[in-house]
Amino acid sequence: MNISVKISVNGVLHEAEVEPRLLLAHFLRETCGLTGTHVGCETSVCGACTVLVDGQAVKSCTMFAVQADGTEVTTVEGLASNGEMHPVQEGFWECHGLQCGYCTPGMMMTAVQLLERNEAPSRDDIRHALDGNLCRCTGYTHIIDAVEYAAKKGRA
């Protein structure tokens, strides 16, 4: 039996009738057309599908859309505002925080969560916070640079 859900995504309310087994990642990509959220391992390991649900970073491949009913979801598309990049996006741009770019949306959403909880993280704090996000290009050093840049920018 389909279930009616109302989910606010990046400030826009999406109402839909969904199958209970529809994963939040697929709701965002297919129902909302927001393909910035990537689906990588599908097993809650790689973190490419990370989004914020009511401000909490979660792996959207391990959550049903029906569980997100009534919540506010932020995806990578919701980071920039008025054509201005979010400090985390600017950090990835300035510090070459990506190679192929597949892991990048998830990395950025987890980084946003980190900086909300800890505005001045050490490089170790950043490594620890990103341990649920895998980069198969292994470009971790530049990713840590990018988050460090964003932290400094955010405090400026």
């Binding site: 209970p20 390991v45 909490q56 970073a57």
Partner: protein, 281 residues
């Protein structure tokens, strides 16, 4: 990886959830944070016809202290425990264990109750709950009952929660800062290959040591505990006691670690956990 189709019901109270469970019986599964159930459903290892979502039952989402006891609602997330000021002060072992689980995203969503009921032999919580002598308050159709940690973890993926029942609260004693958790983790998942929680009471000269990841269910290392009963916990006495941390145990063996290696890790981690706990107190 798409789960088999199911019907979804969101319970707004514990009584409603129990009624739904009674109505649907074996066809139903309880959904809290979903971080054990959903992966199993995606692999189709679990194919419930009905999923009962209890995640919004507010009463089960809390950490409260009363008369030296702390009641933790089953729906409290790992992150809420990790960041709880009350627990950091009153029972720091729990935030320490919580912070070692999975990753940030998993800790934001996974719940302490869901993890304990799932009873994964490599889960972190069973070690902490056993070492603290936690009590599990379980609701059923005929009221509540309380089960001691020692009886709660029954076997691999089997807890004492019966069909038709739902875990409500986990009660732990307030402890001073004399506990520690150390883990040799499976690198990719963070699950314990050998995790040891130790609680040291220097005044009574008693220790509690619990081991997870090593056997089909977490256990109290009774040989280690009796070796330190009434004894000053020094580097030497701890080393001797820790040698008994896998006595009488039938260790698991898999691609990550052989049975012998797991037993070895249990002994090494017991020593480290005890020493860390003693050094803090």
């Amino acid at each position: 990886m798409i789960p088999a189709a199911f019907d979804y019901v969101r319970a707004s109270s514990l009584n409603e959830a129990l009624d739904l469970l009674a109505k649907h019986g074996d066809d139903a599964k309880i959904l809290a944070g979903g971080h054990s159930l959903i992966p199993a459903m995606k692999l189709r290892l679990s194919q419930p016809k009905v999923v009962i979502d209890i995640s919004r039952i507010a009463d089960l989402h809390s950490v409260n202290q009363q008369n030296g006891k702390i009641a933790i609602g089953a729906l409290t997330t790992h992150y809420e425990i990790e960041s709880s000021d009350l627990l950091k002060r009153a029972c720091p072992l729990l935030p320490e264990v919580a912070g070692s689980i999975g990753d940030v995203q998993v800790r934001n969503k996974g719940t302490v109750g869901g993890s304990c009921v799932h009873a994964d032999p490599a889960g972190d919580w069973p070690a902490a709950m056993l070492a603290l002598d936690a009590e599990f308050e379980i609701a059923g159709p005929n009221g509540s009952r309380t089960v001691a940690a020692n009886d709660f973890f029954v076997d691999i993926l089997t807890s004492a929660v019966e069909p038709g029942e739902i875990l409500k609260f986990i009660h732990v004693p307030a402890t001073a800062n004399t506990a520690a958790y150390v883990k040799f983790a499976q690198k990719a998942s963070g699950f314990a290959i050998a995790g040891v929680a130790a609680v040291v009471d220097k005044t009574k000269k008693e220790v509690a040591v619990a081991v997870t990841g090593v056997a089909a269910k977490a256990y109290r290392a009774s040989g280690t505990e009796s070796s330190l009963r009434g004894v000053e916990p020094t580097a030497d006495s701890i080393a001797t006691a820790a040698e008994k941390a896998a006595d009488g145990i039938d260790p698991l063996s898999d691609i990550h670690a052989s049975a012998d290696f797991r037993a070895h890790l249990a002994r090494v981690q017991a020593k480290r956990a005890l020493w860390a706990a003693v050094s803090r107190g």
